[in-house]
């Protein structure tokens, strides 16, 4: 969405005149964020508001998000529905087969009613089928949905409550907009993150500079008079400084070579960010402005320039502003220097540098140039380069944005020539760009390098650690940004998404144009080339999520920009399009990190969508803070909003909102992991417990002439899911921590264990189903063989059918509850209360239910059945036997699995935090260990 043109018409009505008509073009349009300058007010009409804003047009409708767990539930449900129907069918069929035998249909003791006799055979079959469906319908865990919803709703409070998510700056904690996706947080495979405001604070800070090969690092204390101090760089010339003139020249260059404007009436808080602007005492300016300096604000198209100007200010050179082509500088001696601005040679991404030509008071004409090292170095003397290159490279590896500064003194002739060339080129009607470029290149030669700067785009707190943890947990991190490539790349380095040894595969407009051939061809060629490199030659990845940390394995990073991406996605040939897309995806999937720069908001969503719909349907997560991230937040499976400074748009459209990027780690690694394990267990357990609940009832049909005789009393049938077995699993699904939170946070790799819906795939489902079948068979036939002689009491009296059902039911309730107890790894008092409480409640209820003649019941079926059952030693023995036998396989499995499993359950995180798979990686990058927060310093 670009506003390329605007056509409008304005009718001006005055009292007595003819209405005048004026045409309006793009030059009459003020875009969002424009600031008023040089005038008190303007009159205007707001256009493109509301739904017509770029933001709204980029907005995609909010669609229902459903988690992978829910999809699994639906698949399982289908299986159980099939089981239900087939059970009913089997029973119906067998019933009529059985009834065909002589004497079985209507024995004399069991006459049919008249109505039954009159009913049509097929109708009877149908009603029988329906009756069986009703009898077995408990196999469909309806109550699971209630419990799942409750678990999700209540469980999401733990995110809101988590005090680790509380940010004292904004006085807010995490926000949960939907509780449907808690478990999805444990399944994320792709993380799409916005750069500005998410990875970085969008807050440039001048870190250090290098003047003539000497390193200067600003110390906040600023105790020295000149504000400078030399840090111990790796260079041999320790504690030395460049000459005073060189310093001054460098700082002057910083003060002059920019397009920054001074915002005079900056209100408090507007111009200053985290107290960057220092006080320079005794600053007085011809009595004109006498006020503390901290109010000075700068406006520029690029935050880097502001950072540089501010950096220069800290060293004593303050840029006071541009007044009618005169740039005023306050130098270290509190003298005002005035320079006449002659020309600005604008920045463009191809040249990657900018220059200004100024004339000093003394009449010297100077050219100051700053730009990327790659574009400056060829234009200066080689010996100067050698002195500075090490600094620049070191700074670059540390993730700073580096700029080199050069200058050149122009003689009068040279200037006249350049001036003429520039003027001519600017007025040219044809090929203006090329002509300008030629003049620029001509002017910016033979310069001498003064120094280099390092500016840090301040990363969010613990951004690098967070990203590292995400990558360590097997997630692929894609940075989607609207920023230009260089900026984004340096951020990626700073966040350790790209490492020193990462081989970057670039697919940008620049690389496409390198070959000088048609873009399309080049694209094709590059894609194939990269594909060969990253996919075919790479050693086959093990099981998809595992990633080798060994240094021998080449890491790849992929960089693509918006224009190229749209070529990949919307190729002119349809056949190519899908091919490019799959090549692109395959390359990306084999890269450790992918950087997409120069993206429009909708393109971000497109990328997310493409990955989301790729093979295997990986779970995607988008995180962003601004309105331009909304579409990608909405598109991804899980959208995370950061409660940043850029308004609430992202927060409102997100599924979860957190105050800082660093919270993402705990949100995913701890909360997500636990939620997933909890709900997965909940789902499997529910299916299991309903299967072994209803299977005995099904088996009983074979022994009661397929007459739909329920095995359990109606009260038990109803209460089973509601009261007897619901609370323990709910408590489990809210409180379980099979691995404690600290360990989860320390071992990012644990996250991989549950990747790809590991606990809800068909394997585990089959295990649980078989377990349910095993238990069901055991319960029924165990009691069946006991009842081969129904005289189970020591007084010789016999038990009837309700005693049979009650014994089975007692075994059932105890077994499923104890099975859960066996699975519980985290016994809080709530778990104890609920598990033992449920069992006690069952016993209590059974006594109560069987202890009273209930006036509203037509049949007092269970009257004293439970109590009588307990008076029988055999019943006790069979209950104990069956419970133990049912749980035996589980106990065995737990014990036998343990020696092989990870020793991750220890409470002490001491060993795990230092050891573990991350350590080789950490040691491989000593240089990158420069940390961005205090905590990380202490860790290493």
């Amino acid at each position: 969405m670009r506003c390329l043109w605007f056509v409008g018409r304005m009718h001006i009505y005055k009292n007595d005149q003819e209405p005048a008509v004026r045409s309006l073009g793009p030059e009459n349009l003020l875009l969002k964020g424009a600031t008023l300058k040089n005038t008190q007010k303007i009159c205007g009409v707001a256009v493109y508001t509301g739904m017509e804003t770029k933001m709204a047009l980029n907005y995609q409708g909010k669609s229902q998000k459903r988690s992978a767990v829910e999809k699994s539930i639906n698949a399982f449900l289908l299986v159980y529905l099939c089981i239900l129907v087939s059970k009913a069918l089997v029973c119906t069929t067998l019933k009529y087969v059985w009834q065909n035998k002589p004497g079985q249909d209507e024995p004399w003791y069991n006459q049919k009613t008249q109505r039954e006799k009159d009913t049509n055979l097929y109708l009877k079959m149908f009603t029988d089928f329906l009756s069986f469906m009703v009898l077995f319908n408990f196999i469909i865990p309806v109550s699971m949905y209630v419990t799942v919803e409750m678990q999700k709703f209540l469980g999401s409070f733990f995110i809101t409550w988590d005090k680790d998510f509380f940010d004292p700056e904004i006085q807010e904690g995490a926000l949960v907009n939907t509780s449907d996706l808690n478990e999805e947080l444990g399944q994320v495979e792709y993380v799409f993150t916005d750069k500005t405001g998410t990875l970085t604070q969008n807050n440039m800070e001048f870190i250090e500079c290098c003047i003539d090969g000497f390193q200067y690092k600003y110390r906040d204390a600023g105790s020295e008079l000149d504000g400078f101090c030399v840090t111990d760089g790796p260079v041999s010339k320790l504690q030395q400084k460049a000459g005073r003139e060189k310093e001054d020249l460098f700082l002057r260059a910083l003060c002059l070579c920019h397009t920054v404007q001074v915002k005079e009436s900056a209100g408090p808080g507007q111009g200053q960010e985290d107290g960057l602007t220092d006080q320079v005492d005794g600053l007085e300016l011809d009595g004109e402005v006498v006020r503390p300096e901290e109010q000075r604000g700068f406006i520029a198209s690029s935050p880097d320039e502001v950072a540089l100007v501010k950096g220069a200010m800290r060293y004593g050179f303050t840029f006071l502003g541009l007044e009618s082509k005169n740039m005023k500088i306050l130098n270290r001696n509190n003298d005002v220097e005035v320079y006449e601005l002659l020309h600005v040679l604008n920045f463009d991404p191809v040249r990657r540098r900018m220059s200004v030509i100024v004339r000093s008071k003394s009449g010297d004409t100077l050219l100051f140039c700053k730009g990327a090292d790659s574009s400056i170095f060829p234009r200066v003397r080689q010996e100067e380069v050698d002195r500075i290159r090490t600094h620049v490279e070191r700074n670059a590896t540390e993730g700073y944005r580096t700029l080199c500064v050069a200058y050149k003194q122009l003689s009068a002739d040279e200037y006249a020539q350049a001036d003429a060339g520039l003027r001519e080129a600017r007025l040219a009607l044809q090929d203006r760009e090329e002509k300008l470029m030629a003049v620029y290149n001509q002017v910016e030669t033979g310069m001498s390098l003064i120094g280099a700067t390092a500016v840090e785009d301040r990363l969010q707190e613990e951004a690098a650690e967070t990203m590292e943890a995400l990558q360590g947990s097997g997630m692929k991190v894609w940075v989607l940004t609207g920023d230009k490539m260089e900026t984004a790349k340096s951020t990626c380095y700073a966040c350790r998404l790209f490492q020193r040894n990462t081989e970057l595969l670039e697919l940008t407009v620049r690389t496409l144009e390198d070959g000088g051939r048609k873009r399309e061809e080049r694209l094709h060629e590059l894609l194939l080339d990269y594909h060969k490199k990253a996919v075919q030659d790479a050693p086959p990845a093990k099981a998809g999520v595992t990633r080798s940390w060994s240094t021998t394995n080449q890491d790849y990073g992929f960089i693509i920009d918006g224009a190229t991406l749209s070529m990949v996605l919307n190729s002119s040939h349809d056949s190519n399009s899908s091919r490019y897309k799959s090549l692109f995806l395959q390359i990306c999937q084999n890269c450790t990190a992918v950087l997409c720069c120069r993206m429009a908001p909708l393109q971000k969503a497109q990328i997310v969508k493409m990955v989301k719909n790729s093979k295997g349907g990986p779970i995607t997560l988008s995180i962003g803070d601004g309105a331009n991230d909304v579409s990608m937040i909405l598109e991804a499976h899980v959208g995370i909003g950061i409660k940043g400074k850029e308004g609430r748009q992202a927060v409102r459209n997100s599924d979860y909102a957190i105050p800082k990027l660093k919270h993402l780690k705990k949100l995913l690694l701890a909360h997500g992991h636990l939620y997933y394990v909890r709900i997965a267990h909940l789902v499997q357990y529910f299916f299991y417990k309903n299967l072994c609940f209803i299977l005995p009832q099904f088996l009983y049909q074979f022994f009661c002439g397929y007459s739909q005789q329920p095995l359990y009393d109606a009260a038990y049938l109803t209460m089973y899911n509601i009261c007897f077995t619901s609370m323990p699993i709910l408590a489990y699904s809210l409180l379980e921590q099979h691995i404690c939170i600290e360990v989860l946070l320390d071992n990012a790799t644990l996250y991989r264990g549950i990747a790809k819906n590991a606990m809800l795939r068909w394997g585990p489902f089959l295990y649980w189903t078989l377990l349910g079948v095993f238990h069901g068979l055991l319960f029924f036939f165990g009691v069946r063989y006991l009842f081969s002689n129904p005289a189970l009491q020591d007084n010789g009296q016999v038990f009837g059918n309700w005693s049979y059902g009650t014994i089975v039911f007692t075994v059932l309730v105890f077994t499923v509850t104890l099975k859960l107890a066996l699975d519980t790894r985290h016994w809080t008092w709530i778990n104890h209360f609920v598990i033992w409480g449920s069992l006690a409640f069952y016993v209590f209820f059974s006594f109560f239910w069987g202890g009273i003649i209930w006036p509203f019941l037509r049949q007092q079926r269970l009257y004293f059945v439970f109590a009588t059952m307990l008076s029988s030693v055999s019943a006790w023995l069979v209950i104990v036997l069956l419970i133990l036998l049912s749980l035996l396989p589980d106990i065995l499995l737990v014990v036998l699995r343990k020696p092989r499993g990870p020793h991750a359950r220890q409470k002490k995180p001491v060993e795990s935090s230092v050891g573990g798979p991350q350590s080789p990686r950490s040691s491989a990058r000593p240089l990158l260990m420069r940390t961005f927060s205090d905590e990380s310093n202490t860790v290493i």
């Binding site: 024995p107 049919k112 007459s707 081969s788 010789g796 133990l884």
Partner: protein, 339 residues
């Protein structure tokens, strides 16, 4: 955090529950617990199993089928459904003392007392002595709600209607003379059934309560005359009736008929010849059913049941074997370090 944190309004509560830091017990099923546990459980089960098995072995059981399907069966003549009031005699001999108290059961096979339609065909209100349901039995009782003259049937329903009506008398043959073995018909039904659940209406004499009602179609005598010898054993609290009304769980079942607890036979049935005289009334051949009588004594675990003892023995030894296997596995792969 060592330093005092400032208070914030929105700050989430720092409680153990909200921070998911409730103190918790984290059980570890380690080999050190499980192997001895298995051994203990296994040994206990084997112990119980042996006790059960021995007990079960010591229970004496004598089962006799008297359906009369075979030609040489004494009850063959009665198996013809046209013969009314048939009596047959079942002779048997005991070569050693059948220890008492002896319980006398009758058994039916392929008889579906647990059929749903059959099971619901009763009126518990009527059976608890509610006179209103004498006039209008519950709808559930169909097709035994009213008889062909539209008189209410009491007790109504299929279950009551099909009450087992064979009667037995046991004689010991002593020197050619028949000596009646006294049967004790009390205490064969659940205490709560007899005392609470089933009640006769408070009408004296009882037969007046049944005015205007008819006996169940299959019955030869009305409910209030079920036991002429004991007036307290009539109506709905007749022990045989109570036993019948408690539906069996499986199609092959036995029900307690009498106990032998009195007189010379309180210690059991001495060795010798016996004759069981059967009033053969109950038809079962139409649905391919079987009838049998069972003499049995019982122990603390109830009647003879080999299953329980064997199951305990098997599982007990399984536990022991598994603990051995685990021990070997652990010895080979070393105990986990956390021991």
């Amino acid at each position: 955090m060592v330093k005092e944190e400032p208070e914030f309004v929105n700050r989430p509560d720092n409680t153990a529950f909200t921070q998911q830091r409730l103190p918790a017990w984290q059980p570890m099923l380690s080999a050190g617990i499980v192997i001895p546990g298995f051994v203990l459980i296994g040994l206990a089960f084997i112990g119980i199993g042996i006790a059960l098995f021995v007990t079960s072995q010591n229970i004496q059981v004598l089962e006799k089928d008297y359906t009369g399907v075979e030609l040489n069966s004494p009850c063959y003549k009665c198996s013809d459904s046209n013969v009314k009031n048939c009596e047959c005699k079942l002779d048997f001999s005991l070569d050693k003392l059948f220890e008492g108290p002896v319980f006398f059961y009758y058994g039916l096979s392929n008889y579906f007392q647990n059929y749903r339609r059959y099971g619901v065909s009763r009126d518990d209100d009527q059976l608890s002595g509610d006179l209103a349901n004498f006039k209008e039995p519950s709808e559930d009782c169909t097709p035994y709600q009213y008889d062909s003259n539209n008189s209410p049937i009491v007790p109504c329903g299929s279950v009551a209607n099909s009450k087992f009506n064979d009667t037995f008398e046991l004689y010991q043959i002593v020197n050619g003379a028949k000596k009646l073995v006294p049967f004790d018909g009390k205490g064969i039904a659940w205490w709560t059934d007899y005392n609470v659940k089933f009640r006769n209406p408070d009408v004296v004499p009882l037969r007046n309560a049944f005015n205007g009602t008819v006996k169940p179609i299959f019955w030869s005598r009305p409910a209030y005359e079920l036991d002429p010898s004991d007036p307290a054993n009539n109506g709905f609290v007749n022990q045989d009736f109570l036993v019948w009304m408690r539906r069996a769980a499986l199609p092959d079942f036995r029900k307690l008929y009498r106990r032998i607890t009195e007189g010379d036979y309180a210690t059991g049935l001495p060795a010798g010849n016996y004759s069981l005289e059967i009033a053969y009334n109950y038809p079962v051949l139409s649905f391919d059913g079987r009838k049998k009588v069972v003499f049995s004594n019982v122990s603390w675990m109830g009647g003879k049941n080999q299953f329980l003892g064997i199951a305990y023995l098997v599982i007990g030894s399984m536990c022991v074997v598994m603990s051995m296997v685990m021990l070997i596995v652990y010895a080979k792969f070393k105990f986990p370090e956390d021991e």
